[in-house]
């Protein structure tokens, strides 16, 4: 179904209002608790949809330029507002450009998530920021958040995260191509969460008891799997995504929350290694327990939401610890049996580009070949990029190792 039609149907059938949400990290359970439909805006890919892209210089990433063109061209008018998470300089600039100097006249909201370690200041701040956002969204939603509904939303999203984790973690046992799998996963960017959960569970029914994928397993890391043709190219070349670290996908599936007291104390001591938890990808957050309460005891859903925020895998848009990210990537590669690493970056995307040398060093030291494919949010994968992916997969199939 077309997204616009879906948004209209949600409004007509359920009275549900909707928000365009810019990448990457945003408090989706909070939006769900407010009965707001989140429709994520990753560009969209392809040529800009209006001349407004020219208001941003060509050295600004295509995600921001295309989003400005989309919003200013009236293509998002079906939604009732827009939420701009504080992801990077480009999206931060887009938020003020579109709302202060023209391009988006409907209600605009910001979610300025903290950067840095899990520390007392960040926990207090994110709680206040979430409360502030909830208060700002309430008039649009036509309702305030109550604890019971927030707890329900957290449980719902925990189930979604568990299902997504099961699909990605069991990738080798899944009878789906990568384009098929990612189509299901990415429909969560705009479907109402309960519908998305149903689709995920249906997909998970296809998990076989033993591995069925015959291609070469690859770890993929990057911003967003666009153009989707990169996945098809990978499959066509005899490889598949065995582990996912896309900001849009794998990096948004929580890991078990850290003990906040331990992390905070370590921060005060200036230790940098404590943040990496068990490095288990995608175990869902339990809606109970934590923050000094006994496991299973009822707890403050706002505290659970804060825990949820701090439970994601390392992402350069959020955290200062590059070593923690490298350990996480190594762990992903080891558990999935990946034989190579595909780094899929968007041109001018500073958070991702800064980590490329460390990724290269990390995996080449372990004998795992790395290929970097850079794109500009094209609608179709370029022939040049497809050739790189094919050559990489061919080299892996032939048993290639990094020098």
């Amino acid at each position: 179904m077309d997204r616009r039609a879906y948004v209209r149907r949600q409004r007509d059938a359920f009275g549900r209002r909707s928000l365009a949400v810019l990448p990457v990290h945003h408090p989706k359970p909070l939006l769900t608790a407010l009965d707001l439909l989140a429709v994520e805006l990753w560009g969209p890919p392809g040529p800009p949809r209006s001349d407004a892209a020219g208001r941003l210089q060509t050295y600004v990433c295509a995600v921001a330029r295309n989003a400005l063109a989309f919003l200013a061209g009236g293509h998002a008018d079906v939604v009732d507002g827009a939420l701009f998470p504080h992801t990077c300089d480009a999206l931060q600039g887009l938020a003020t450009l579109a709302t202060d100097l023209g391009g988006w006249s409907k209600p605009a909201f910001t979610f300025q998530h903290p950067r840095g370690d899990d520390r007392p200041s960040a926990r207090a701040y994110v709680r206040a920021e979430l409360r502030s956002l909830a208060g700002a969204l309430a008039p649009l939603a036509g309702r305030a958040v109550d604890d019971g509904r927030l707890a329900w939303a957290l449980r719902l999203h925990a189930d979604i995260d568990a299902a997504r984790a099961a699909l990605l973690g069991g990738r080798a046992r899944l009878r789906m191509t990568d384009p098929e799998l990612y189509a299901v996963l990415r429909r969560g960017e705009w479907l109402w969460p309960e519908e998305h959960l149903a689709e995920l569970r249906a997909a998970a029914a296809a998990l076989a008891p033993a591995p069925v994928q015959e291609g070469v397993p690859v770890l993929v890391t990057g911003y967003v799997p666009e153009p989707a043709g990169i996945l098809a190219a990978l499959n066509d070349a005899g490889a598949y995504v065995a582990a996912d670290d896309y900001a849009a996908v794998g990096r948004r599936i929580p890991r078990p929350p850290l003990d906040s007291g331990r992390a905070s104390a370590a921060y005060a001591r200036g230790e940098r290694d404590v943040k990496e938890g068990s490095a288990t990808q995608a175990r869902p957050l339990s809606p109970t327990g934590g923050e000094g309460r006994g496991e299973g005891a009822p707890r403050d859903p706002w505290a659970a939401l804060v825990d949820w925020y701090f439970s994601f895998p390392p992402c350069p848009t959020r955290g200062p610890d590059q070593a923690a990210r490298m350990r996480h990537l190594v762990s992903l590669a080891e558990r999935s049996g990946a034989r190579g690493v595909l780094v899929h970056v968007q041109k001018f995307c500073e958070p991702e580009l800064f980590d490329v040398p460390a990724i290269r060093r990390t995996f080449e030291a372990r004998g795992l070949p790395v290929v970097v494919v850079e794109g500009e949010l094209e609608r179709e994968l370029s022939a040049q990029a497809a050739t790189r992916v094919e050559a990489f997969a061919e080299m892996l199939r032939a048993g290639g190792r990094a020098a």
């Binding site: 208001r55 300089d89 709302t99 100097l101 840095g116 207090a124 610890d321 800064f354 490329v356």
Partner: protein
């Protein structure tokens, strides 16, 4: 350790000053008897010699800092007042990268890190800095190894990515002060968050330095930082006079102490000296440009490698840069610190730097500068390396031109990497821009 400390103190107090005096004497001797070339600029500022001494001494002493005193590498927007009472020798990689830009070292340094996989699309400051670490090449002779990295995101998020790479490389603690962007008014929980982080950062810094912050010393450093920012602001304000006693391009170099030595008495003493000279030039009608006919506003960082050639091109036609949003930023934020509340006021001041505020604020600031300094034109440097500064400039150009009736040029280049500056087409655009004033 003791020997190292002796070397450090000697470099700062005896050897450094001696070497600098010798170098100055050699330069003066070489100049003697040489006929001066005709210049479109007014007589050079006497204070420039002192500026060179001050900054050279800072970097010279830095060569012996590691092992002698704790060393912190700090972003320009970090509240350094909080580190000074702990005795840190502070290095500003941005300032160092600007020096690399002036000396046109960036392509070579960048090539070194591009080979490691860093993209040329990344800001040229970190490329220069990381390249300098990789190659050992630096105009400063040698940079001391850091014991602490201190980063504040109020100027851009790039510094966060840059410093996390440094932390990985050096294996030292990184304290991060995350400053939420200000859309309109900053809500109270944002200020509280920054304040809390400052206190957390100081605890880490204390552990690294092995001593506690003396509250009295903190008050004194904060007072000096505020005074330094005030003095710097007054130096800039002298350009409201006609002719402006110096150019905005001069300002780019003379801002080094307020960036790198903020909170020190040496910084303030320097600006008192500079201010006296500028006021004297105003009183005598001496301009930074010999024949000032048009007054311009500059937005964004300078093109460090082309400051002299651009300023000459403009000055030859009577154009003087009298105001710059970049140099003004250091005066605006610094005066907001309050010695009676070092943490709370630093949180407010450092959250409200120009790059951490929305485009309405940017536009208001540019309008105000253009009006206060009676500018009849503006050049907005569309800087490939500085996205937070450059995003919005297309709209700012149109608004400034329409609302103020001034000519505005958007000029694309890069603050550090000359490979991004198309010199011929760029100078053609400048020539056409200037012809429009005739």
């Amino acid at each position: 350790m003791i020997l190292r400390r002796v070397q450090y103190e000697l470099a700062g107090r005896a050897v450094g000053p001696l070497l600098l005096r010798l170098e100055a004497w050699q330069r003066a001797r070489a100049r003697r008897g040489r006929a001066g070339r005709p210049s479109p600029f007014g007589p050079p500022l006497e204070a420039t010699r002192k500026l060179k001494e001050l900054m050279s001494l800072h970097y010279l002493q830095g060569r012996w800092a590691d092992g002698a005193v704790p060393v912190a590498w700090v972003t320009s927007g970090f509240p350094v007042e909080l580190l000074r009472p702990l005795g840190f020798h502070v290095v500003y990689p941005e300032n160092h990268a600007a020096m690399c830009g002036v000396q046109r070292l960036v392509p070579e340094l960048s090539d070194a890190v591009e080979r490691e996989g860093y993209s040329r699309d990344l800001c040229s400051y970190p490329r220069s800095d990381l390249g300098s670490i990789a190659t050992g090449k630096t105009p400063a002779g040698r940079l001391p190894r850091p014991d602490l990295l201190a980063c504040c995101t109020n100027i851009c998020q790039t510094v966060l990515y840059w410093y996390r790479a440094l932390a990985e490389r050096f294996g030292v603690p990184l304290v991060l002060v995350d400053a939420p962007f200000v859309y309109g008014e900053a809500p109270p929980h944002h200020a509280a968050y920054v304040r809390d982080q400052l206190e957390e950062a100081v605890r880490v810094a204390e552990r690294v330095a092995g001593r506690r912050v003396d509250p009295h010393e903190l008050v004194e450093v904060t007072r000096r930082a505020k005074e330094g920012a005030r003095l710097w602001g007054e130096c800039l304000a002298t350009s409201r006079a006609r002719p402006a006693p110096w150019t905005g391009f001069d300002g780019f170099f003379h801002m080094a102490p307020i960036v790198a030595l903020r909170g020190s008495e040496a910084c303030n003493a320097y600006y008192r000296l500079l201010l006296d000279e500028l006021r004297d030039r105003v009183a005598r009608g001496v301009g930074g440009v010999r024949e000032e006919r048009h007054r311009l506003l500059w937005d964004n960082l300078p093109m460090w490698y082309a400051v002299r050639e651009l300023s000459t091109l403009l000055a030859e036609r009577g154009f003087s840069f009298v105001a710059a949003s970049y140099t003004s930023a250091w005066a605006e934020a610094g005066v907001q610190v309050d010695p009676s509340d070092p943490y709370g006021s630093a949180a407010r001041a450092y959250t409200h730097v120009v790059l951490n505020q929305d485009l309405r604020h940017r536009l208001d600031g540019l309008r105000r500068l253009a009006a206060d300094y009676a500018c009849d034109g503006a050049i907005l440097h569309s800087d490939r390396s500085c996205k937070p500064y450059s995003i919005g400039q297309v709209d700012l150009r149109e608004r400034l031109a329409a609302e103020l009736g001034i000519r505005v040029l958007l000029l694309e280049a890069d603050h550090g990497d000359p490979r991004a500056w198309a010199r011929e087409p760029g100078e053609n655009r400048l020539a056409a821009f200037m012809e429009g004033f005739a």
